[in-house]
């Protein structure tokens, strides 16, 4: 690519970021609050605070796991909106195993390992349903995924208010918290556990290498760019698409498992915490380049963690982080469209 084109691309990206920033400033001002104070508080409540910093990292890890999984499906040209439900199912499976084995005389470490594997299985299972509906039922994965999200939501609510409810009345605060031995051990003085870090590192690096440098990755990419030509060239497209779904489900399920064993220590209705949709946003923003997802996800986690205290400190709703994140993606998409239009008019190839 010519140097001019690259500069132009970067220029438009920066413009989009600035536009998103201005947009949110406007919004904050519109409700008569101080924009820069809001930003200051967000930063203070996250990376500016050593205790909160750990929480940012703890939120960052499941996010990058989910995003990496989404890279796989996106490479294959699939819109895996059902990833939110896949996280939920992973969490449910994990909780089920923990509940099943918690009173057995098995080493807690082993129980945790089994539970986390179960989480992966749950995610794979849920993703496979969406995949099969698409491949053999011809159903667009957006609607299948959406439907399955809702079904997963229903299942988790039923479990929390039904069979798995706390003694007495079921409540939104979820199931009984698991005992200490069944929680992921954390580093001293920090909410971060080493295990999610290792899992995340392994998954991110593996997926990066696989997508970039393996035959599997190349074939997925071929399917994403031109599924018909890929098929004609001999790629077993159905198998590969299902494989992509399952791989993403694996990641989502693991994220769910981490949420149960390392963050909430029980099953809550919002266990997926919107990571599914957030992961899609991150992926869209970095244009599906795995390495860029790491810093961008970190920024998103910072925003999320930092906004938690906005209601207390400034009487602002924590959804400000969501506004920032979505408007970023929106403006990037819009400016991308404008850029393509202008470049097209200039007769550029």
């Amino acid at each position: 690519m010519k140097i001019n084109t690259i500069l132009l691309n970067i220029g438009f990206r920066i413009l989009a970021i600035v536009a998103a920033f201005l947009f949110t400033v406007l919004i904050i001002a519109a409700i008569q609050a101080q924009p820069f104070e809001a930003y200051k508080n967000i930063l203070l409540g996250s990376i500016g605070n050593p205790q909160k910093f750990g929480e940012v990292v703890r939120a960052w890890l499941p996010l990058i796991i989910v995003t990496s999984g989404l890279m796989v499906t996106y490479t294959a040209g699939l819109w895996n909106i059902g990833v939110e439900g896949q996280i939920t199912m992973g969490a449910i499976f994990t909780t089920a195993v923990l509940r099943l084995l918690q009173d057995q005389s098995i080493a807690p470490g082993l129980i945790l390992v089994l539970a986390i594997i179960a989480g992966a299985v749950g995610g794979i299972l849920w993703a496979s349903i969406a995949g099969l509906l698409k491949i053999y039922g011809g159903i667009n994965e957006i609607f299948a995924g959406l439907g399955l999200n809702f079904v997963a939501d229903a299942i988790i609510l039923w479990l929390i208010f039904g069979p798995w409810k706390r003694p007495g009345v079921g409540s939104m605060s979820g199931t009984i918290p698991f005992k200490d031995t069944l929680r992921l051990p954390t580093l001293p003085g920090s909410p971060i556990s080493i295990w999610p870090v290792l899992i995340a590192a392994f998954l991110v690096i593996t997926i990066y290498i696989v997508l970039r440098g393996s035959y599997f990755g190349l074939r997925l990419k071929a399917i994403g760019k031109n599924i018909r030509a890929a098929y004609l060239k001999g790629v077993p497209t159905a198998k590969y698409m299902l494989g992509a779904f399952m791989l993403c489900g694996l990641c989502a399920g693991l994220a769910g498992a981490i949420q149960v064993t390392g963050v909430h220590f029980r099953l809550v209705p919002s266990i997926a915490s919107g990571y599914g949709f957030l992961g899609i946003l991150v992926a869209m923003l970095v244009n599906y380049q795995v390495l860029w997802a790491l810093p961008v996800a970190f920024v998103f986690s910072t925003l999320n963690t930092g906004s938690i205290q906005l209601p207390i400190v400034m009487k602002l709703d924590a959804s400000l982080s969501g506004v920032l994140q979505s408007s970023l993606v929106l403006f990037v998409l819009l400016f991308e469209g404008v850029r393509k239009k202008i470049m097209g008019k200039a007769g550029d190839g």
């Binding site: 290498i209 440098g213 393996s214 035959y215 599997f216 190349l218 074939r219 990419k221 071929a222 760019k225 031109n226 018909r228 030509a229 890929a230 098929y231 004609l232 060239k233 001999g234 790629v235 077993p236 190839g349």
Partner: protein, 504 residues
């Protein structure tokens, strides 16, 4: 440019004059200084091969394209036709080969859609109008029937009715009889004759010699974008064919198929798709033989090739490759048996836009381990570039290559050994040098034992390179004719539909 003038539609005279119409698409000069006069009250036939420029010219006349230069005169007045709706306002209506109608809607809806009027549909009035105009021409459509239940022929008829109702004085029919029954054809032809008796004008674009000869008041022949001749009845088929396809050409060295076990055996093969049915193909092809599939596009060659490739499951019959029965095996199994299919749409189906040459090579080569070692493949890529004379670097993206180089790449990507090569219009849009180069390569393959099927609408090419020829016409397939013994005339006539024995 003169301002558009609306012709009084009630004056039923419409002479059309095309003066120096010119239209190019990139490098392709589709219409080259075309002059034509079409008197009213006649059926003007326009004959020509694929790519001769007929459809482009008609699309200009009906408002889909704008000519690069030239003028259109209607009854001596210059007009500019900016869009299809402009055209119909000037009284010109065109029937596409693929009907541009709305299958999920009813006949009445299709008839009415697009007519000017208020919010109120006035269904009652519309029904009456439909009935009136139907009766006038002897059609019997049920207004509440859904268009998707109609056959293609009926859809064409409905479209004719609609255009007439909107006041079309000129009807352009582009290959209207593709895929319709003889009965419906007769009905349409009767209608056309009635129309010209009323003083309307009909332009009949076709490659079907018998129909054109039987129907048209005069015929204009296009070739390679130019008008090459005209004819009036009584028509001499030989002359028409010669104008359409050009002179006799020299035939190349031919491979003679020795009597050995055939490589491919087709027994009582029947296949179909939404438009065509091909019945009872019996064919044996030996190693190194080249079979040319002649005929206009859409006559069944694609269906035939795809069935041989395993992409379409034949309705009945058998395909054997190298003695193995291939029925109902998947497309990928056909590939493993050495049957390779190269589609005509290079960038849409054959190659992957956004992938480099190297990536394509890696995609088709044998997998060595889990991770791609680019080094191992670099040699392969470079070899292919050298052997096939591809103008491009390993990192070049395929969409940046010229058509000729894309086709070379497609060939280079086929893994050896190849038992059967199935090529769909392989030389379409290629420069002369590429064509010669690629044919040399293909003949090499055949010398090494591969059998080759190729579809082409270029008569010269079919005659020059085939050992035997199958002619396709509306789903009918001729017996395999020995190319050496064919003349351009004969082949041209068969492509135009003549000389097909009943039940061949």
């Amino acid at each position: 440019m003169p301002s558009p003038i609306k012709i009084n539609q009630h004056v039923a005279i419409m002479n059309i004059q095309l003066i120096a119409i010119d239209k190019s698409f990139g490098n392709v000069h589709a219409n080259d200084h075309i002059n034509m006069v079409i008197p009213s009250g006649t059926i003007q036939g326009i004959l020509g091969e694929n790519g001769a420029g007929k459809t482009t010219l008609m699309k200009i006349l009906s408002g889909f394209y704008q000519p690069d230069s030239g003028r259109i005169l209607l009854d001596g007045q210059p007009v500019t036709i900016h869009s299809p709706s402009d055209a119909i306002q000037n009284g010109i209506g065109m029937l596409n080969q693929d009907p541009l109608d709305f299958p999920p809607l009813r006949v009445l809806d299709n008839f009415v859609l697009g007519q000017k009027g208020g919010i109120n549909l006035k269904a009652g009035k519309a029904r009456k109008s439909l009935e009136e105009i139907q009766n006038k021409f002897g059609f019997h459509f049920n207004p509440d029937n859904y268009v998707e239940n109609l056959t293609v022929g009926e859809r064409q008829q409905l479209e004719i009715l609609r255009l007439l109702y909107l006041g079309a004085q000129v009807l352009i029919l582009d290959e209207p009889t593709t895929g319709i029954s003889a009965e419906q054809k007769e009905k349409i032809f009767k209608t056309l004759v009635k129309l010209i008796k009323e003083g309307k004008t009909v332009i009949f674009v076709s490659h079907k010699l018998e129909e054109v000869e039987g129907l048209c008041s005069q015929v204009v022949v296009l070739r390679q974008g130019k008008v090459v001749g005209e004819a009036k009845p009584p028509y001499k088929t030989k002359d028409l064919v010669r104008m359409m396809f050009g002179k006799e050409i020299k035939l190349a060295e031919r491979y003679s198929c020795k009597n050995e076990t055939p490589r491919i055996v087709l027994k009582d093969l029947c296949m179909e798709d939404s438009r065509l049915q091909i019945k009872d193909i019996n064919l044996q092809v030996c190693r190194g033989e080249i079979i040319g599939l002649a005929g206009m596009e859409g006559s069944g060659q694609q269906l035939f090739l795809r069935s041989l490739a395993g992409l379409v499951v034949p309705v009945s019959g058998e395909i054997s490759v190298d003695g193995k029965l291939m029925n109902r095996k998947s497309y990928h199994n056909f590939q493993k048996a050495g049957v390779y299919y190269v589609p005509a749409a290079r960038l849409e189906e054959g190659l992957i836009s956004g992938f480099s040459l190297t990536e394509h090579v890696v995609l088709v080569e044998d997998q060595r381990g889990f991770f791609i070692k680019t080094g191992a493949h670099r040699l392969a890529v470079q070899n292919k570039i050298k052997n096939f004379n591809i103008q491009g670097k390993p990192e070049s993206q395929v969409e940046q290559l010229s058509g000729g180089n894309q086709q070379r790449l497609s060939l280079a990507l086929l893994r050896s050994p190849q038992s059967v090569l199935l090529l769909e219009h392989p030389m379409r849009g290629l420069d002369m040098e590429s064509v010669i180069d690629i044919w040399n390569k293909l003949q090499d393959y055949c010398r090494q034992g591969s059998s080759l099927f190729f579809a082409s609408s270029d008569l010269e090419e079919v005659m020059r390179y085939s050992d035997r020829i199958l002619v396709f016409f509306g789903g009918k397939v001729s017996k395999a004719l020995v190319a050496e013994k064919m003349s351009v005339d004969q082949l041209g006539q068969m492509i135009g539909g003549k000389g097909f024995e009943r039940g061949a």
